[in-house]
Amino acid sequence: MKLTKQINICLMAADNLRRFKGKTIAVIVSLTITMAVCSFMMFTRGGFIRDAETARDFLPDVTVQGIEAGRVAQISLDIIPKIKDIPHVKYVFPRVWGYIPLKIDETDVSYTLMGLDIDHFPHEIDHNTKNEIKLLSAIEDGYFLVPGDRKKAVLGYGVAESFRVDVGDIFAIAQKFGVDVGEIKNIGDKIKIEDLLGNSGEFEIVGVFSNKVQIYTTDLIIVSNEDARNFFGYAEDKASDLLVYLDDPAHADNAAFMISQLFENTRVMTSKALTDLLKEAFGRRGGTFQAMWLIMLMTLLLLIWAQSAHIGVDVSREIGILKAVGWQTGDIIKLKMFESLICGLFGTIGGILLGFVYALMGTPGISGYCIGCASVYPKFPVPVSCDFGSLFLIFLLGVVPVTMTSAIPAWLTGTIEPDEAMRS
């Protein structure tokens, strides 16, 4: 008896929604859109922050760049021994890197070719230092460069994709379905890079970075310092910057200060400063995000208001009638809550799915507005992160207020005398 009653009420709620289609669709659609934008922002915002933090894990405690006539310039390797004398400095590795503008499939892209002191870095770093471990575990396929490797490269995911390096059989599958993807390359194959400035080099692909660390590594090509010097035409005793590792990162600010005092023509940055910069750059839409949040919140409030306003007019009469013919207040509240719960569930789940699919699809129409995404290969999507916490939060945000807003007026109307309720 008890169960059939609940079923009856639930069925009537569903029936009511079907009956008042216009209102139902309006509520569900607006909720879906709101939730889609909300969840999309949640998915991507989390991704930006996570990427910025991952990037920091790759960075040395202090980075030293050379300055010439007030502009960033090459740095001389002479100062390495002097930096090593500074307290707490454990390692100093030179790095040679630059941007390489390319034309791929008629599209202009810009990648970063980065030379590392691979005979020493990162394997010389203590095994309990997080940096090395993270860098190596970020390899999706193949291996990271080992000492002595020359004319070999590790590619970022975006680079690998644009050179049609087959990671995870994507291209093989595409080919199987008759899609022309051109010549597929594999780990161990060679790629020839010729940038628009006339620099060129040929490298054997030994590994590909996972796309889980997109922003930092997606446009990256890592080679040995010697290969990078050849590519860019650097002198033997020059590098782009120096990576300084300390025995204790807590001394980063002190060490950075001392380096900048000792060597006049340098620009010194701590990893924290770099991450903040990165976060600011990628989160430049942070302001936009906040504005969008505000809009979403207002939409939700509007929805809530519309719902309760609706209760105000003829729903209160309906509630009064139901009470007058013998319905319990509790049953009426249940009916109204079921109605909104169904709308809320449909709208919220639909919205979350929509937001997620949109984020996964590579956020068509929005990637271009993300600094850091636009300059890389166009296919590069906004990073997506999906954790249970934010998902749950979004879900609650969608379902609870909408359900509550119908329950509260129903409760209010339900507790006044039926003759009063019917009068309004």
Binding site: K5, M12, N16, E318, I321, A324, D419, E420
Partner: protein
């Protein structure tokens, strides 16, 4: 079965208090047909609402089947309305957006009766009132007289002992009024206790066992 002792009912509208009923006492026995007469605003509907447990008294005593229900909690009053009372409202109060038959079946829904059983019972009542051809019409598509018949069917669906009809012949034409009087006669024969209000002397007064005339919230 219905005992009203020195009942007063006050309404607050804004800062003003209105005495809708003042020190009214009356007794109605089972199976009686009673009519409340009196001018507009004299308190007839208020008294009917009290008997129908749609509103509470401000002071005095109201006994239904020897039980003082005036201070019972809300959900008990809902149960009383379900079990004992069939209310035919002045404005009929059908739920718009629902068909005639669905309106009739509405009181059965929270009792846990299946949809088929509900509609079957509702249909038989509509048949009894000769309005079954309008069963699937939406409430708002029915004429006033038809709406009243649907409202009567809804009031009868739980087979209540007490039928309360607020101004049943005010909003319908004379042909429907005649039909209504026949229906009430029939219900009286079945042994129902019937209380109706009417601001004019009319056909239903002839049916009545007793008439009470209200004036300014009191029985004169």
């Amino acid at each position: 079965m219905i005992k009203i002792e020195k009942v007063s009912k006050r309404y607050q509208s804004g800062k003003v208090w209105i005495n809708a009923l003042h020190n009214v006492s009356l007794d109605i026995k089972e199976g009686e047909f009673v009519v409340f007469n009196g001018p507009s605003g004299s308190g007839k509907s208020t008294m009917l609402n009290i008997i129908g447990c749609l509103t509470r008294i401000s002071s005095g005593r109201f006994l239904l089947d020897n039980e003082e229900v005036s201070h019972w909690p809300d959900h008990f009053l809902s149960s009383i309305r379900t079990q004992k009372i069939g209310f035919i409202f002045q404005q009929f109060n059908l739920v718009t957006g629902y068909s005639a038959i669905e309106n009739v079946a509405l009181p059965l829904l929270p009792l846990g009766i299946s949809k088929n059983a509900r509609l079957k019972k509702a249909f038989s009542l509509l048949e009894k009132l000769h309005i079954e051809t309008r069963a699937d019409f939406m409430a708002q598509e029915l004429s006033g007289g038809q709406q009243q018949l649907v409202a009567i069917a809804r009031a009868l669906i739980n087979d209540p002992k007490i039928i309360l009809a607020d101004e049943p012949i005010s909003n319908i034409d004379s042909r429907h009024a005649e039909n209504l009087i026949n229906i009430l006669t029939e219900l009286k024969k079945e042994g129902k206790t019937i209380i109706a209000t009417s601001h004019i002397q009319s056909g239903i007064n002839r049916l009545a066992d007793r008439n009470f005339t209200f004036k300014d919230g009191a029985i004169s």
